[in-house]
């Protein structure tokens, strides 16, 4: 496994794909930087898997260009693209054992038997499956299969690795463990990686950048922190993390809610209806801290408190019936002043936590 080889960037331009008359991707552009771990995140039907299949060459696009390290590959057959891929169901060949599964890409490249054995052993070490070379695929656990699939996808040192929801079949604990392992493997090997998932937590944990996809378009492409703190659309805000959506109106260069001016760090929007996005953990019970100059104060009535062990969620109604959720950790000082259902409270949202997004509907 050489890390010195520079992984090429991928430049995707104008990819369009229709299935029959149904457009799945419409003129999609995306640049994946050299050695980057980029995640395509979106609900099912958003076109993320189709895009991955087009990258791998299994699905033919109707139009567009895929440039890998300066070379157009859009018409290249899959076996000439030299791209490693981990399938959702692993697609390990059931009639071969672990060794022959991993050796398969080397066999296609006419690697000598000695070198094949050496490289398979090396990659088995890398994915921590030493000594399992002779196992049949159906004798492996889910996590082991996942590792074999990964080993098979990187043993021939591909320039680019694609992963299609590779962890979705694993149980929660193993999934979180593998996320960290995949991430550190990527750091060590440095191949350009495109990862598909519908799990926003997984995307945030693993990615350098995330492309949030919806209805065949990229809604926002950013680093995880930016995506979470500054979602640009209501869809992104709703898909990544939990959010309160408060309808607000913009006129005369400022934003209004229930007759009060809203302090927000977002640039002044055009006039009209907008949504104010507030993360539940950024809403505070007002007694928590002194009033800041740029804080929004909201009168609310507590509807319900849901205890979740490490934290609690407080559901409250604003004066006009608008619902808002607040999340905080169960520290003793917070718990001591915990309101009860029916109690009126003051909620505080700082300007930098109040994000404006356009009203798409």
């Amino acid at each position: 496994m050489s890390t010195a080889r520079s992984a090429p960037p991928i430049n995707i331009r104008g990819i369009a794909k229709r299935f029959g008359s149904v457009p799945v991707l419409s003129g999609l552009d995306l640049d994946v930087a050299s050695g980057e771990f980029l995640t395509l995140l979106g609900p099912s039907g958003s076109g993320k898997t189709t895009l991955l299949m087009i990258l791998a060459g299994f699905v033919r696009a109707n139009a567009g260009s895929i440039d890998i390290g300066g070379e157009e590959v859009i018409t290249k057959p899959p076996h000439k693209r030299n791209i490693g891929m981990v399938f959702q169901n692993y697609a390990l060949f059931p009639h071969m054992n672990v060794f022959h599964n991993i050796a398969f890409p080397l066999k296609q490249r006419r690697t000598s038997a000695a070198e094949t054995a050496e490289r398979v052993e090396k990659v088995l070490d890398l994915v921590q499956l030493q000594g399992l070379a002779d196992r049949r695929v159906d004798q492996l656990s889910g996590g082991q299969r996942q590792r074999v699939a990964l080993a098979r996808a990187i043993v021939f040192e591909p320039r680019i690795v694609l992963m299609d929801e590779p962890l979705s079949a694993l149980d929660k604990g193993l999934r979180e463990h593998m996320q960290i392992e995949l991430r550190s493997l990527h750091r060590r090997l440095g191949m350009t990686t495109v990862y598909v998932t519908h799990d926003q937590r997984e995307a945030i944990t693993m990615s350098d950048r995330i492309a949030v996809m919806n209805k065949g378009r990229i809604e926002q492409l950013d680093r995880p922190e930016t995506l979470y703190a500054r979602p640009r659309t209501r869809f992104v805000a709703g898909f990544i993390g939990e959010s309160n959506f408060i309808p607000v109106e913009s006129r005369d260069g400022s934003v209004w809610y229930a007759g009060k001016k809203v302090h927000t760090a977002s640039p002044s929007p055009s006039s009209g209806r907008h949504w104010l996005v507030v993360r539940p953990e950024r809403v505070r019970l007002a007694a928590d801290a002194g009033l800041g100059a740029n804080a929004n104060m909201l009168h609310a009535t507590v509807r319900d408190i849901v205890y979740q062990g490490d934290s609690f969620i407080c559901y409250a109604n604003l004066a006009d019936g608008q619902q808002i959720a607040l999340r905080d950790y169960c520290r003793s000082d917070v718990l001591a002043r915990l309101p009860v259902a029916g109690q009126p409270v003051q909620l505080r949202v700082d300007a930098e936590d109040a994000i404006l997004v356009a009203d798409e509907t």
Partner: protein, 302 residues
Amino acid sequence: MSARPAEFVSHGLNADALRADARRESLGLLGLCSPGLVLVGIIIVLPIGWLFWLSLFDENGQLSGANYARFVEQASYIRTFITTFEVAFLVTGLCVLIGYPLAYMLSQLPRRAASVCLIFVVLPFWTSVLVRTYAWLVILQRKGLVNTWLIDLGLISQPLPLAHNFAGVIIGMTHIMLPFLVLPLYASMKTIDADYLCAAMNLGAPPTAAFWQVFFPLSLPGLAAGVVIVFILCLGFFVTPALMGGGKVVMWAMRMEQTTGLYSNWGAGSALGVVLLAVTLGLLGLFRWLLGARATSVWGAR
């Protein structure tokens, strides 16, 4: 639970009642099976036993091995034996050559198109073998459709000998046996995940390599099932060789018919039946063993 001593468990709460309940259940299941078991006993086990019993006596009712000695002594028996296997091998081979691509095509078609095509594969099943064989006679005989067309087109001057001979038997039987190969093969091909082929190509295998190294080995169980069915059906086939062979191609079942129907030699006929059964069972066992060995060893080991 496992830590408890055995007698504690056997004398536990309601243990006797539960045991009695389990016994009642298995007796009930046996009761449900018994009509089928009795039927199988009466119409299969008894006649075959009787057949075997008959084959041990010669024409004078004396206990002897004469009926079996014929298999090595009489040239006509040996010829029948060879013909039968020749036909079975050829027909099975042709069925594989025609049926594999057909099943492959069916398995790759979209669901709706595949089910329409499957109807055409199964359709012949709904007509009697006799009717289908006569239809082939009409098509293949000296003044049949094929020869008339070919002569009219000026491609041949003399009619091709397609019926009433070995070729006719092969053509007719291949047609009749084809669905028996295609159906199990299609079923097994349908279970091969398309992702396997995608993975193979992704890993650098050109389409032909992906097919031979991944798809073909995975389709082998279905192919083997089809081959076994076709081969064994061929060994005991009667109608088509009798009609299409014109008396020149004598297969096993035909010889049995001759021996019992024409010469009324039930002992000899029974011996033929017993040997055919033994050969069939032996072949089944061989196939099972071969398949078992393949399933447990690593296929791609070479």
